[in-house]
């Protein structure tokens, strides 16, 4: 059967009601199907709630049952915002986290707080929520003061009630226990504007912020009751698989629909070059996708992988931008030593353990899309455009999927599902295959950095110049190129969004003259996207490796060299704490008697790296101990020690988990990961051809969190990714005298470097 584009009127529509789910002692607002009622008709896809970011009611509502509901535009991907945001809001408002219900990432219910990215969930989203909660508390106290005819200064909000600080005068009907929030706020609404000057609690009095409270989703995730995006279904939903072309730019010439005629209920949807199969049950859809015969045109437009670096360097359609230029020419001879080196970070995949998945329900008037995207609000415009629907009739609802770490295939799967649902007039679930995810998720872009520098014998950096080649960033997330709309001829934007990938390309140390020149490439070989800490693992790998090269040239201990050039007290403290964790003995690298020439079968060394993330956020100092096997070229990472300062810590266990994850995920990227491709397609499409870290590769990890309760909280989810590459390369240099300047550090590359050292 051939499905045509003319949408049939859906006979049944999905409706949603909120239900309360008690999970791990914390109330969570979930969604359950309750009969068949359209979300549109149930109160409007947009406009049901205020989403004005300046209104307190956008973030908080008071419920009659003694709870409040927190509406958060940032989403939890496993990084712990569900508890951290409750801690922030509960602290300021004066209510326990177990009395806070939570709604996240729903374009109809939550404010647009920007994409959950750049490690800014707490820093920006949390700060906004803190301000809303502080404004709400001041409002509740003012209302209670008015009712009780007392001075607001004599009242306190605590445990969901406003009461007298002295315990007296608490209002007759409440038995002296205070006035419940719900009794103060008629209809649950505050009708207040966010007040940037609303008084904040003194951190010294915190009872929730700074505590390692457990994450509410963990019990459900450990017992199988958590509903992931991949587990979500709607009544009447069909299963779809999209068939991507065998070559990236190939066009669909012909489809043989008879090839799947033996599969019960399977059918084909074709819209230009967008090809999919649908079936009532998932396995039939999987079989149909594998059975369907289609003819595609030839295409081989990718550069040769082994010539990619040279290709980047030879590009002529560049936009040059001088990102940093400070200091001036130095006069005189200062016994200078000059060095130059070139560093390369390859294209990498997000490597999500679960391939992307989405469910969409689209009719002539409106669309509801369930997605694991980190940017539901930002995607709404894109989806409205290719679905040809008004933006206020498109609703995206976040459901957590397998970890994403940037922008994997979640957005594409959601677009696939939306296109198909619009085409057939039924709810559609699209589940990508492993090969789809590895082959088609947008990739972390390639980054090439040349650095040259001059250092004097005292360790002073006289000159530093970074010149780098990297793909152009774009102006907005509404311009993400998506596979489905492009193939179907519905939308074809060329905008890219690799994130702020040019940061941390100048050294954090004193230097007389610094220049950073970016050669922005018009496009990337494979569709680019941000991966955790976008661009900065590569940049810091280059900058902190080169810093080590200068320290070695000056004959100085790597930590001593860094400290001589660093004024920032928080940075200095992080470095000293990490050095203490490492039991660091001051000496230059490489270690004596340990270099490649001494014939030892296993060479051991230690390396160090430091970053002040984006020059404005977290401080990370990291040491790594390695053993390098001469014969195999294998690097064994034995220990990682990290001192981490993200300002005020909201939840130390959550922050620690993020640092652990940052270290291990980036070790995987540095040791193992590079997308393989021929001139037509990605060829590393499973875990054998794109291996990631396994348990046997996991080192001992020691993390020291530096809490600064009176500083602003900044992100903990990315910064520790950035120091891993250089700390490891510097440790290998210390062990062997050989420099690794190309990621990943495969045994072949190690052996080649040992041979050249």
């Amino acid at each position: 059967m051939r499905m045509h584009l003319t949408p049939q009127r859906p006979t049944r529509r999905a409706g949603l009601t909120r239900r309360k789910v008690l999970a791990g002692g914390v109330l969570t607002v979930g969604f359950a199907l309750a009969g068949w009622q359209s979300p549109t008709r149930a109160g409007g896809i947009g406009g049901a709630r205020s989403v004005d970011p300046n209104a307190v009611d956008t973030f908080l509502s008071v419920n009659g049952d003694g709870t409040v509901t927190l509406y958060c535009g940032k989403v939890d991907l496993g990084q712990g915002l569900r508890i951290a945001m409750r801690q922030i809001a509960g602290e300021e408002l004066g209510i326990g986290v177990d009395k806070i219900k939570y709604v996240e990432g729903d374009t109809a219910l939550t404010p647009d707080q920007g994409r959950t990215s750049g490690s800014n969930g707490i820093q920006r989203g949390g700060t906004q929520i803190r301000r809303a909660a502080a404004t709400a508390r001041a409002g509740l106290i003012a209302l209670a003061a008015q009712r009780l005819n007392v001075n607001p200064d004599d009242l306190i909000a605590e445990g969901g009630v406003v009461r007298s600080k002295s315990g007296a005068n608490n209002g007759g009907s409440n038995g002296g226990t205070g006035i419940r929030f719900a009794d103060l706020v008629a209809g649950g609404n505050f009708n207040l504007k966010l007040d940037p000057k609303a008084p904040l609690k003194n951190p010294a009095t915190y009872s929730l912020v700074g505590k390692p409270l457990p994450r509410p989703d963990v019990p459900a995730k450990c017992t199988g009751t958590f509903t992931y995006m991949q587990d979500f279904s709607l009544p009447g939903m069909v299963h779809a698989r999209v068939i991507r072309p065998p070559a990236i730019g190939a066009k669909l010439i012909a489809v043989d629909e008879t090839s799947i005629k033996n599969l019960p209920g399977a059918s084909v949807v074709r819209i230009q070059d967008f090809l999919a199969v649908i079936a009532d049950d998932e396995w039939t859809a999987v079989r149909a996708a594998g059975t369907l015969r289609a003819q595609w045109s030839e295409w081989s437009g990718l550069p040769a992988q082994d010539k990619l670096v040279a290709t980047l360097r030879a590009k002529t359609d560049l936009t040059d931008e001088m990102l940093v230029s400070r200091g001036g020419e130095q006069a005189g001879n200062y016994g200078a030593l000059s060095r130059s080196a070139s560093y390369y970070w390859p294209m990498q995949s997000h490597g999500s353990i679960g391939p992307s998945c989405a469910v969409a329900d689209v009719d002539k008037e409106a669309a509801t899309v369930w997605t694991a995207s980190q940017g539901t609000h930002g995607n709404r415009k894109t989806f409205a455009r290719f679905l040809r629907l008004p933006e206020d009739q498109v609703r995206l609802i976040y459901l957590e999927g397998a970890g994403c770490y940037g922008m994997n295939g979640h957005e594409d799967a959601a677009a696939d599902a939306a296109i198909l649902s619009q085409a057939i007039g039924r709810p559609v679930r699209v589940q990508w295959s492993r090969q789809d995810e590895h082959g088609w998720d947008p990739k972390g872009p390639p980054q090439l950095l040349d650095i040259s520098g001059v250092v004097d014998s005292t360790g002073r950096i006289r000159e530093w110049r970074t010149e780098m080649w990297l793909p152009q960033t774009t102006k907005g997330l509404s311009d993400i190129p998506l596979l489905g709309p492009a193939a179907a001829g519905l939308d074809d934007v060329r905008g890219l969004q690799p994130g702020a990938i040019s940061q941390n390309t100048d050294p954090p140390y004193a230097a007389d003259k610094v220049e950073v020149l970016a050669h922005w490439l018009k496009d990337a070989p494979l569709r680019p996207a941000p991966i955790r800490s976008p661009g900065k693992p590569a940049n810091c790998f280059a900058v902190e490796s080169f810093t080590d090269e200068l320290a070695s040239a000056a004959g100085l201990d790597p930590i001593e060299f860094r400290l001589r050039g660093l004024d920032d007290k928080r940075g200095v403290e992080a470095i000293k704490r990490a050095a203490a964790l490492m039991n660091w003995q001051s000496r230059p690298s490489p270690g004596s008697g340990k270099n490649a020439g001494n014939g030892a079968a296993v060479m051991r060394g230690r390396g160090f790296a430091y970053v002040h993330y984006k020059h404005s956020e977290s401080y990370v100092a990291m040491g790594i101990d390695v053993a390098v096997e001469r014969a195999s070229g294998r690097i064994k990472v034995e220990r990682v020690a990290c001192a981490f300062d993200c300002g005020q810590i909201i939840n130390p266990d959550g922050a620690r988990a993020q640092v652990e994850g940052s270290i291990l995920q980036t070790l995987s990227r540095v040791l193992l990961e590079e997308v393989q491709f021929d001139q037509s397609r990605v060829t590393s499409v499973d875990w054998n051809s794109y291996p990631i870290l396994r348990f046997s590769d996991v080192p001992q990890i020691e993390i020291e969190l530096i809490d600064r309760p009176t500083e602003a909280p900044v992100g903990a989810g990315e910064a520790a990714c950035t120091t891993v590459g250089a700390a490891l390369a510097n440790a290998v240099f210390d062990a062997t005298g050989a420099r690794l300047r190309t990621v990943p550090f495969t045994p072949e590359r190690v052996k080649a470097a040992l041979g050249a050292a």
Binding site: G224, P264, P355, Y405, S433, A657
Partner: protein, 154 residues
């Protein structure tokens, strides 16, 4: 459409499938037992691990026909939020999962290990979980939780 009878989490269940080669994974998820995850369909990642007659197997590579008549245990069958299995309790206490997509397979593999070897070494734990991939980097906590569940450390 054929019926395949098997015991799942202690109950007699029937999986309907038109294809005897349909992986058990799809049969389980079709019954609403969605703790068991599709990760690769290639037997490479361990996200779909279940116990069959007590042994950990990849449900993406096990057909419904092969599973017929056997006893299958999924994460849901091990315990619940109110009455978790000791390994589940240890994972919760150690706050192991981040995204948690690999957690079901991790716990199933760990339960199989501890049934075999109640007091494993850390090396045993790492070896038993070598076929389970995690992308969030929770490995250190996984090992800590399994050791704690065996009454060692934690």
């Amino acid at each position: 459409m054929a019926n395949y009878r098997l015991r799942i989490n202690g109950f007699e269940r029937t999986i309907e499938a038109s294809d005897p080669d349909q992986p058990l994974l799809y049969g389980l998820r079709g019954l609403g037992l969605t703790a068991t995850k599709f990760g690769c369909g290639l037997g490479q990642c361990g996200a779909c691990n279940v116990l069959i007659d007590g042994r950990p197997v990849r449900s993406c590579l096990t057909t419904v026909a092969d599973a017929q008549g056997k006893s299958v245990t999924t994460l849901e069958g091990l315990g619940s939020v109110s009455a978790p299995h000791p390994v589940q309790a240890a994972f919760i206490k150690a706050q192991v999962p981040q995204c948690g997509y690999c957690t079901s397979g991790m716990i199933v593999s760990a339960v199989a290990l501890l049934a075999d070897k109640p007091k494993p070494t850390e090396y045993d734990v790492r070896s038993a979980l070598e076929g389970n991939l995690c992308r969030c980097g929770t490995h250190v906590r996984v090992v800590r939780a399994v050791m704690a569940a065996s009454g060692q450390g934690g």
